[in-house]
Structure formats: structure tokens, C-alpha cells
């Protein structure tokens, strides 16, 4: 029965959220919007980890991985915000399209 939830449901959900995260990264011009997209992607990965832990691996490794991912995401967000502050101080805007000095 397709409505009975199994591992695949979680994985598909994760894939959708992942894609939405990528979409968010690709369409937001606000730097913090991109950061939000990254968080979505990480969350999608975490769902995978926890779902596998529940359905396949059994032991707590998936949980531990997810804890570390959350931790790294927090660290990354802190640094990213700091970088955005510098970005903003330099260019007086938070629009990432304006930071295109490296264009080809």
C-alpha cells in the first residue's frame, strides 16, 4: 500500500526538500536567502540519515551524524553571517549578484 509510510517516503521527501533547497539557492539574490537554501539542503540530508538509521542501520550512527551536521550547519551559518556583514560593509548591499568581480 503506497500510503503506508516506509523508508522511500522519507527519501522522496528528502529529495524534494533538497531540490527546493537548490532552487532556493539558485533563485534568491539575497545572500541570506542562499544561506537558507543551504540549510534546506542540509536538512534534507539529515532526514536521510535519520530515516536510514531507523529503517536500515539500526544503531545510532545516523543520529550522531545528524547531530554533527546540525552542529556544522550552525557553525557555517555563524561564519556566513559574519561574511555577509563584511560583504554588506563593502558593497552596501546584500545582493549577491553585485558581488561579481570574478565574472568571466
Amino acid at each position: 500500500m503506497i500510503l503506508a509510510v516506509g523508508l522511500n517516503h522519507y527519501l522522496v521527501l528528502s529529495a524534494l526538500i533538497f531540490s527546493l533547497g537548490v532552487l532556493c539557492m539558485a533563485t534568491k539574490r539575497n545572500a541570506i536567502g542562499i544561506l537558507i537554501g543551504v540549510e534546506l539542503v542540509l536538512n534534507a540530508a539529515n532526514i536521510n540519515l535519520v530515516a536510514f538509521s531507523k529503517y536500515n542501520a539500526g544503531v545510532g550512527d545516523g543520529h550522531i551524524f545528524a547531530v554533527f551536521v546540525i552542529l556544522l550547519a550552525a557553525a557555517e551559518a555563524a561564519l556566513a553571517i559574519a561574511i555577509f556583514m563584511n560583504f554588506y560593509n563593502t558593497l552596501r548591499t546584500i545582493d549577491v549578484d553585485r558581488g561579481d568581480e570574478l565574472r568571466g
Partner: protein, 164 residues
């Protein structure tokens, strides 16, 4: 009932995620992110990962999100200033995202997992077990993570300081 809960929270997460993408107002995106984070946390509850769910709430929703909104406040001039991507960009991005979603979904649906994918294990690790693993098997990553956090703390403070 877990199934129903899954559908509800999955819907919350997904709709919020769509809201994030669809909203042109960055603060609204952040609020939608709160929805996604909360929904995912609830999914963790459904998956018997209580500790993880709570960590998700406390770190993401209580910490990271506040930081983001704080960052938005410091970098925006008004609630209504937004930047929009061009239609072409949006169309390309949507196409890529759909391709990606289709690809990954097909991948996971056609993959053959080693054990029965529809029978969740009865025993989930308790909080104490997860904690014990962190301090035994994963001690080195744990300590490395603490060092990393220190580095990040110093780095962020250094980056965000005011120039003199």
C-alpha cells in the same frame, strides 16, 4: 497514526519549503524556514529520534534562525526591499530543480536497500545511548567538533568586528 503524522509534517515541511522559494520577501522566507525546521523536527519525533528533534529545534530554530533574522535586520533597509531573479533564471532553476527531484527520487525508488525498507526497527537508540556513543566511539569527532566551534567563534568574531 505515525503515518498520518508523517503526512502532516511532511506536508508542513514541503509547503514551508515551497514558501521559502516562492516568497520574494526574505523575512517571510526565514519564517517559512521556521516551518520547515519545525516540520523536520516533528519528523524526527516520528522517527523516534527525540534528542535529534530537540537539538534541531534548539540549535536551528532557536539559534541559527535567530541569527539569520538578525543578519537580515542588519543588512536590509526596509521590509519591502527585495531582489528578484529574472524570469529566465527562475525558469532554468526550476527546470534544474525538477530534474534533480526526479533524478533523486527515481534513484531512491529503484535502489535496492540491504534490509527491508518498510519495517522500521523496534529499538531506537535512547538519549543515553546516543550520548554514550558521542563520548566513546565518536569521541574524536566530538572533540574535533568542539575545536571547530571554537575556531568558528573566533573567526566569526574576527570577521564581524568593526574596522578601526
Amino acid at each position: 497514526m505515525d503515518d498520518l503524522a508523517f503526512y502532516i509534517f511532511a506536508a508542513v515541511s514541503l509547503l514551508s519549503a515551497i514558501g521559502i522559494v516562492a516568497s520574494s520577501n526574505i523575512v517571510r522566507s526565514a519564517v517559512c524556514l521556521l516551518g520547515t525546521l519545525g516540520g523536520v523536527a516533528c519528523l524526527y519525533f516520528v522517527l523516534d529520534a527525540n534528542l535529534l528533534a530537540v537539538i534541531q529545534l534548539i540549535v536551528y530554530a532557536g539559534g541559527t534562525l535567530v541569527l539569520m533574522v538578525f543578519g537580515i535586520m542588519l543588512t536590509s533597509k526596509s521590509p519591502w526591499v527585495g531582489f528578484r531573479a529574472t524570469r529566465g533564471q527562475v525558469a532554468g532553476a526550476v527546470l534544474v530543480a525538477i530534474l534533480m527531484a526526479v533524478g533523486i527520487s527515481t534513484l531512491v525508488l529503484t535502489a535496492e536497500w540491504s534490509q527491508s525498507a518498510n519495517a522500521p526497527l523496534k529499538t531506537s537508540p535512547s538519549v543515553a545511548e546516543v550520548g554514550e556513543m558521542l563520548l566513546t566511539d565518536y569521541l574524536v569527532p566530538f572533540e574535533v567538533a568542539s575545536v571547530l566551534l571554537l575556531v568558528v567563534m573566533i573567526g566569526a568574531a574576527y570577521l564581524a568586528r568593526t574596522e578601526k
